[in-house]
Amino acid sequence: MNELLATTIRELAGTGWQAFQAINTRVPERPSIQPGWAPGPLLKTRQRSKPPLGWPRQTDSLCPRCVVETRTAILSGHRDLAELVNGHAGEIKATILEENGRILMRKTCPQHGTFEDTLSIDPEMHRIVEARYYGRDFPTLGDEQIHRHGTSTIRYGRGAVLTIDLTNRCNMMCNPCFMDANQVGYVHELTLDEVKQILDDSISFKPRRQMSVQFSGGEPTMSPHFLEACRYAKELGYYGTQAASNGLRFALEPEFAFQAKEAGLDLVYFQFDGVTNAANSHRHISNLFDAKLMAIENLAAAGIDITPVTTVVNTVNDAQVGPILQFMIDNCERMSAVSFQPVSFTGRDEDISDADRHRQRYTISHLAHELKRHFAGKIDPYRDWYPLGSLGAFTWLADHLRGPEVQYGGLSCSCHPNCGSSVFLIANKRTKAWAPVTQFFNVDRFVEDVAVICDTARGPAATLTQIALSLLRNFDQRKAPGGLSVVDLLKVFNKKTSGALMAGRRPSTDWKLLWVGGMWFQDLWTYDFRRTEMCVIPYATQEGEISFCAYNTGVGWRQIVENMHMVASTKDWFQQRGRHKIYAGNRPMDLPSRSLPVMGAYQTAESNGHAACGSGCGCH
């Protein structure tokens, strides 16, 4: 589109917006609607609560030593589980402060002394991200039987992803591993009836959630009920189904990918630690990257979306984050997102030494700066990173537009701003040209506009007019990547909405939205109860829904729930039901011989020693 025309449209939209608001803000607000799924009327901006932010501030945390002692005592029967629910086992106060250019958490246990760890290496980025937080979702109501975990109880929100561990069995022996799979000495595996009960319970209270269900483990595809569980979740009406998988099953058995798609699997949250076999060697399979490529081929052929998930450990695979993002962009026709997860020292890593912990600690600020470095400043830590919770603005707008009759609220990712941040990119599937959306779209102002739109709560026509004006005034054609116009953006959204924006027509477009996320799970050294009570990715278990971090770290609800509901010792299981293969010992997997036409370039590059960077920087 002509640049002058685009600028004119933007300026006119800006003027139109100002003119509209000159009247709109002088007319009294209309009351918010109360949809059936919500516990009350939709919240105005001023009604949304926020956790304490900024620093220095005090919060509730855990003593890394007391917690382990308490958990051990409960598991051995020397202390009662009720102490966890009714008491404050292992809890101590912690201070979040800035010191020597870092944000730290410092806490002192009267018995075990002082503990300190890094939350951020960039206080300014930390401040900006916290400032962009949009506010909490509704407090939960009628969930007493689901959320009943003492100080670890989830108190806010609809959640975004419901995680269900189908089994603790796994076909790998990774380090790190949240659950210490294969090593705990027992098997915890849900029956299909239990899975169904959990899924039923999850939508039994208000706000009624529209979540994406993520089946996890262990390796969820090892559960005999994996496919049926996907099917049931879809039948109930959950928005999507995911599997947090190492992908080996999909690599070894292409048919399984097709069957999973038919059963209802939408997305694989795909363990992916680097773009070479060497970068994956800490997973103890010498040709793991080859297996990953094969899994990607099979999943893409089946039509299953792929989100690579990288657990980033400083000094282990931190140099891979740039190449991994480049890999995702290069394969954006089959991937929509990449999720970087700074290491959480839990499960198998809970006994880590202080020296190793400080050396391996990685935060979202590390990630932001590494991506800035790798892409020569194209991704900016201050302009482009938003807390996951900032996206709540879009949910509130959608809820407002959908009216009072809908049965489910929109999926709301209103977690604590310290839990995760993300960058949205737009990429061209053909040319691979890309840019952060915030490079050409003023998200800060758009979110402010949304607040005005939702708070004034006008009728559909006025609301849609405001949205259109806001979209146009915040889009800057001059800063967009070459070839991207408003029309292209419209086509991107039109395709995603099955042609609804263009009267059923679906003109093709080469552009696609990509999400780059950083999700930082807590461990005993960084634990903050203000975060767990706002968790949007709860674990759903036989003992109710538990915050992700309270389950995997914290007082260790995982060990407690699994011990309460184990089905056999590992030894008995293997004796009675047969062994499964575990790939470990730094040996190669025996992979089916297949040509990998699309991924072949990466394999060739790697064999030639050209894939270690992957940035196109010319260093090789």
């Binding site: 959908r402 999926l411 939205l513």
Partner: protein, 388 residues
């Protein structure tokens, strides 16, 4: 429209990363017909275009078995049979049951392992069952609940029936293992390595391997039919040439005797990649035909006679709307047209191919042939086999 669109747009901006695009897998069933039934089964499980491969009635509800579930159950039962009963290629399995989803899983699992699967009419008396089992000498016998009662009456004449697996769930006081328990165990055994090894072994079974045995009694005596993997596919190919499958086809199979005709038809429907097979279960067949409107029907002749006799033009619950039926009544029709319409209504209004599992009276056959293709190649016991 616009209201929804903008809402979706905003939602997508937020959630793009979390949810998959709805990519539709393009499939072309039956691109080629492989040499063996096992390979045909594998191909159909991989490439098909239908929401379910099997349908069966539970009370008033029709339940679906999609292809992925059937395939997984076949693999799991096959792994159980191989690893827990020691079943090997060349051995035999007996199945004493009507044609049910469980029968089909057991039948395919046995054939994929290279065993010959012998399905026996569950209504056979103890003596006939004993004779058949003696001759089959199965490694494993699957039984329906009714057949299990008959088996238990064999007492002193107990033939060799190997491990007994109940198709209808656990029954206290018997030695039979419930098929649910076998599938549960097989589910744990179902790893990618074992599943692929199972598939590879099934593919390696040659066309000359005996896959199917059938026993039936008639006026000529008690006869046995054997068909190899290759012979089964050849017969299916001939049938497909006469009446190719179409997208959206539903087949209805009703045969309490578990005849060879019905068995082969079910293989063919599974293998064509398009057809969903509804298996009748215990009465209500005429109502089933009206409810399902099947394109293909396999049933005893008596069902067609009953359906034709009980129907009038315009009675059916076919796909045409009520207004269309009312309009049809206003148009005068000849007597012959009326009879044809009655038959068409009786079989659900959409039938274009039928096969009978027993002899069809010539008058009815003629009337049926006027409106649908009547499968000429009924697989009668006696062909391809010998007297027992």
């Amino acid at each position: 429209m616009m209201h929804l669109s903008v809402e979706s747009l905003l939602f997508v901006m937020y959630l793009d990363s979390l949810f998959a695009e709805n990519r539709t897998r393009q499939v072309t069933p039956l691109r080629s017909v492989p040499e063996t039934l096992n390979r045909l089964h594998a191909q159909a499980m991989r490439e098909h275009s239908r929401p379910s491969v099997l349908r069966f009635r539970e009370g008033a509800q029709w339940r679906d078995t999609p292809d992925w579930r059937l395939d997984r159950q076949v693999i799991r039962l096959g792994l159980y049979l191989r690893e827990r009963t020691g079943l090997e290629a060349g051995e035999r399995v007996a199945i004493i049951s009507e044609l049910t989803p469980e029968w089909f899983v057991a039948d395919l699992a046995a054939m994929n392992l290279g065993a010959a699967s012998a399905t026996l009419d569950p209504r056979l008396g103890p003596d006939q069952l004993a004779t058949a089992l003696e001759e089959i000498a199965p490694r494993v016998t699957f039984v329906s609940a009714a057949a299990q009662d008959t088996l238990e009456r064999l007492d002193g004449k107990a033939p060799r029936w190997g491990e007994l697996i109940s198709l209808d769930g656990p029954r206290p006081g018997t030695s039979a293992t419930a098929i649910g328990a076998c599938l549960d165990m097989g589910g744990t055994l179902d790893t990618p390595e074992r599943a692929q090894a199972f598939r590879a072994a099934a593919r390696a079974i040659g066309p000359e391997r005996i896959a199917l045995r059938h026993y039936a009694g008639d006026a000529a005596g008690w006869r046995r039919v054997e068909l190899t993997q290759g012979e089964i596919v050849e017969r299916l190919r001939a049938s497909w040439l006469r009446e190719p499958a179409r997208e959206g086809d539903v087949a209805y199979v009703s045969d309490p005797a578990a005849s060879l005709t019905a068995r082969l038809a079910v293989y063919g429907f599974m293998g064509d990649g398009y057809t969903a097979t509804a298996l009748a279960r215990g009465g209500g067949e005429v109502g089933d035909l009206a409810a399902l409107g099947p394109a293909k029907i396999v049933a005893p002749a008596a069902l067609f006679a009953e359906a034709a006799a009980g129907s009038r033009p315009g009675d059916g619950r076919g796909r045409s709307g009520e207004w269309l039926r009312r309009a049809a009544r206003l148009v005068p029709t000849g007597r012959a047209d009326g009879a044809a319409a009655a038959i068409r209504n009786g079989v659900g209004n959409r039938a274009r191919w039928i096969a009978t599992t027993d002899s069809l009276a010539s008058a009815l056959a003629g009337r049926l042939a006027d409106i649908v293709m009547v499968e000429p190649d009924r697989y009668e016991p006696g062909r391809g086999g010998g007297a027992v």
